[in-house]
Structures are given as C-alpha cells and as structure tokens.
C-alpha cells in the first residue's frame, strides 16, 4: 500500500511541476499554453541526449537552460506581440507550436520510441517497510518537493516573486505602479518552460520517449489546473497530489477506467465548486 502511495506521489510530483508552469503562464498571460506538453517532451529528449555524456545532473541543467531559452523566446516572439489580440488567437498559435515542436522532435530524434536508462547513481531499490521501491522514484519525489518548496519560497520572499504574484492577480494594476510586467512575463514563461523541461528529463527514465509523449501529460495537467482553480499555485499543488494518487490507484485497481478517473474527478469538483479547489474568482 505504501508503495502505491509513493508511486502516486511520483506521478503527482511530475504533474505538479508541469502544471505549475501552466499556472504561472496563465497568471501572467491569461492564456492556456497548448505547447506546454511539447516543452515537457523537448525536455525529455534534451535530457536524453545530454545524459549520455553529461550524466543526470548535466542533463537536468541542460534541459532547464535550453527550455528556459525556448520559453523566453516564446514570450518575446509570440505571446508579447499577440497580447492585444483576442486570447483565442494566442491559444491557437500555441497549438500550432505544439505541432511544430512535435515535427521538430521527430526530425531530430526520429519517430521510434526511445528508452532512457535510469541514471546509474540512482539505480537499484531500497526496502521501505519491507517492500522494495526503486531509488530513482524517490529521487523524482525529492526533486518535485524541492521545486515546490523553492518556488513557494521564491514567490513569497523575493521581489520578483512579489511582482509575479501581483501581476498574476491584476496585471494592469501592477503595471500602473511602474512594474514592467512584460519583463516579469519573460521570466515567468521561461521559468514555466524550464520546469516543464526538468519534469520531462526526470520522467524520461520512467516513460518511453516519443514526439507525442507530451499530449497525455498536457491533458492531465489541464485537469490539475482546472481542479486546483485557474491561476492558483496552492490549488495546483493539492490537485496534482490528489490526481497523482487517483491516477495510480486507478491503474492498480480499475485499470480499464484509469484514464477516465481524472476527468470524472474534474467534473465532480467543478459541480461542487465551479471555480476549483482554491479558485475564488476568474
């Protein structure tokens, strides 16, 4: 049972890192980034390629840096120029980007499934209350916990974190106080993309790599963001943990219904609270 809960935490943690990036970008830009799953996929491939020479930490760093640059470019070249257009235009453009990034990955890494090995330093298993559990999965949980902690400390205590929270709640008022919200948004989109990249890299040894691997996690992340309450970091955290557990228990006990359960959960939460767990207004 404990092992099941830990497995749920592994998936919940990965979901959290991806979703929190969506939440960050939604807060600043008021758009749902359909390309987010592709950033996750790109992170997995970049990590895969670098890991062979640079090891696990090198891969993680490389994926974070490459994806942060992609994110900054996404904001400067696409989101900012389109900010005065109807949001639907931007959403469609991010959807187009999803297709382009998938083609790009297929061109560079091919269509076949790739398998990323578990980093040697984290190979093997440990006994937890008599049950064996892979070390690497514990590492994934730890990375997710560190991201959650680091992000909330950064948002609470740094000046930029304050600007991010302010602009997510009310970009116009924040800007009229003299905050360059465009620069805040470059930082935020870069960070959101880097987190997707990190999450792609660490999940690579657990999944098979393919250019379309981003779609599934994208959909589950949307569910997390909606259940958590659009734009809420705390809500996304809780929702990711819950959906991680539900997803995993579903796989174990009702495998035929497993992919449906998160949707049903979302529908249930929306009936109970239309603004999500932590959403107050939108």
């Amino acid at each position: 049972m404990l092992v099941q809960i830990l497995n749920g935490l592994v998936y919940g943690g990965l979901l959290y890192i991806v979703s929190v990036g969506l939440v960050l970008i939604f807060g600043l830009r008021r758009i749902v980034n359909f390309a987010h799953g592709s950033l996750f996929m790109l992170g997995a491939y970049v990590g895969f390629s670098v890991a062979a020479m640079g090891g696990f930490w090198g891969a993680l760093l490389a994926a974070a840096i490459v994806l942060a640059l992609v994110g900054a470019l996404l904001d400067i070249a696409i989101l900012q120029p389109l900010q005065r257009e109807d949001p639907i235009v931007t959403v469609l453009v991010t959807f187009g980007l999803l297709l382009i990034l998938e083609d790009f990955a297929q061109f560079v890494w091919g269509k076949d499934f790739l398998k990323s090995p578990v980093p040697t330093m984290f190979s093997g298993s440990v006994l937890i209350f008599g049950e064996s559990f892979p070390v690497y999965r514990l590492v994934v949980i730890a990375v997710a916990a560190l991201v959650a902690l680091g992000l909330s400390v950064w948002l609470r205590l740094s000046k930029i974190g304050l600007y991010v929270r302010a602009s997510s709640a009310d970009p116009l008022t924040t800007a009229m106080q003299g905050v360059n919200t465009d620069r805040v948004s470059v930082i935020v989109v870069a960070l959101g993309a880097a987190l997707a990249g990190i999450s792609g890299t660490i999940s690579a040894p657990l999944l098979a790599l393919s250019p379309s691997m981003g779609s599934y996690i994208l959909i589950e992340s949307f569910i997390v963001v909606v259940v958590g309450g659009l734009g809420s970091f705390a809500g996304a955290f809780i929702a990711a943990i819950v959906i991680g557990q539900v997803h995993n228990l579903g796989l174990v006990y009702v495998p035929w219904a497993a992919t449906m359960i998160p949707f049903l959960l979302m529908v249930g939460v929306l009936i109970w609270r239309p603004t999500g767990i932590a959403g107050s207004h939108v």
Binding site: L162, A166, A169, T174, Q177, G178, V179, T181
Partner: protein, 232 residues
C-alpha cells in the same frame, strides 16, 4: 511653472468607439486640478489614455514635457505619474504591506518609503500583514494612495476616490490630499463630489460627453456657484 501632464486635441477611445473628442488639459508642477463630470462622460478614459489602455487616435499626450506614446502601461509611473484607480483595485492575494511594496518600482528618487507611508496612514502599519481587501473601504482608499506614493510621483491622479466612502472619511481624504499638495505633489482629482473638489482643487475642468465644456479657477468661488457652473 513647468508642465507635468498635458493633453492637446486628444481623441481616444476603445476599438472603433471614440470616447474623448479634442480634449485639452494641462497640469503643472504642484498644481491641484479637478476634472468634474457625470457617470459615463469619459473621465476614466482620460486616465486610460495616458496609461495606454484606451487608444489615442489623434492629438498628443505629453508627460513631463516629452511626447508620450502610451503603449506600455508601466511608463507613466516611471515618469512620475502615479494612479489611484477607480474602485481602488487593491490586489486581493497580497497583504497590505505587499500591496504597498509593488508600488516601489524602480526608476524614481525615493523620498517615500514604507515607513513614511505607515506614518501617514498608521492604520496600514497596524494591519500590515492582513490581506489588502480585508480592510474597510476607507482604509483601502488610503492603501491605494499609499501604494501610489511609493512610486514617488510628481503627479498623483485619483479617479473618483470618494466613491463609496462615508462623509467623515471623505473629510479625512480631503485633509490627506491637502497635506500631499502642500508637500509639493501635484494632484489630478477626478471626482463627482463637489465638496471634495472644492476643498482640494484650485482649478477645474468639466467634462461632458467626452469634451471639456467648461474650465475655471476655484479661488473665490462658492460651492453653490461651482455646482451651477457644472450643471450643464
């Protein structure tokens, strides 16, 4: 007296709708100017025009003598024009202290500090760690003014600050605004409350259907005759 904010022949609006027509107005260093007008005549659109929320289709806006092309919303604050927006717009997810801290954006000299704002409005110091929107309406107005002061403006623009406030609080507001003006801050007070305008401003414009239909000095004018002037 040097000019801080000037509109000349400004036409602006939203999308295809023109709201302001040929608006001319100026506010000089340390001046206290009011814009009066009924609901929906375009008062907030004046603010939105220099912020860049409404689109300027012809005419010119100048900030501190320089031609201002209002594209990016944060420029006005960095050029010394701070805004207390209509409805106060306190950010609900931030505490009182944090709401003030976003006003400390870079680029200006810093005579105003968190401590000085707390000295001006002691209630904000007492409630520094509560959510901004947990304050009463009057306290939220003080918070919005304090937040604007944090950017060390030479001109403070207030959009209907008396809205929804009890008469005694409006009296307090008048005292605070006079204090700020005496300390050298210019004021642009957009209001429908004659009493507040009469006590604070030295000059006024009347806006009706998007144009300035009347302007004058308040010195020596009684409240009654101000009301008559404005009743257009």
């Amino acid at each position: 007296m040097s000019e801080l904010l000037a509109f000349s022949n400004v036409v602006s609006g939203y999308g295809d709708a023109r709201i302001l027509h040929d608006v001319d107005l100026t506010i000089g260093d340390g001046e206290r100017v009011a814009v009066l007008g009924r609901n929906g005549v375009g008062k907030t659109t004046i603010v939105n025009t220099f912020l860049g929320v409404a689109r300027l289709s012809s005419g010119e806006v100048r900030l501190a003598g320089e031609r201002h092309s209002p594209i990016r919303h944060f420029i006005a604050a960095r050029r010394g024009i701070a805004l207390v927006p209509q409805g106060r717009r306190i950010i609900p997810t931030l505490t009182v202290r944090e709401n003030l801290a976003i006003g400390g954006a870079p680029g200006r000299n810093k005579p105003w500090t968190l401590d000085r704002v707390f000295d001006l409005f002691p209630i904000l110091r007492e409630r520094a760690n509560t959510p901004g929107t947990a304050l009463s309406g009057g306290q939220q107005q003080m918070l919005a003014i304090g937040r604007a002061l944090m950017s060390n403006p030479s001109l403070l623009v207030l959009d209907e600050p008396s809205e929804g406030l009890a008469p005694v609080i409006i009296d307090e507001l008048a005292v605070v605004l006079r204090q700020l003006a005496d300390a050298g801050t210019a004021l642009l007070l957009i209001e429908q409350h004659f009493g507040l305008v009469h006590r604070v401003a030295e000059r006024y414009y009347v806006l009706s259907k998007g144009t300035i239909v009347e302007q004058g000095h308040l010195a020596g004018i009684s409240m009654e005759s101000l009301k008559k002037h404005v009743a257009v």
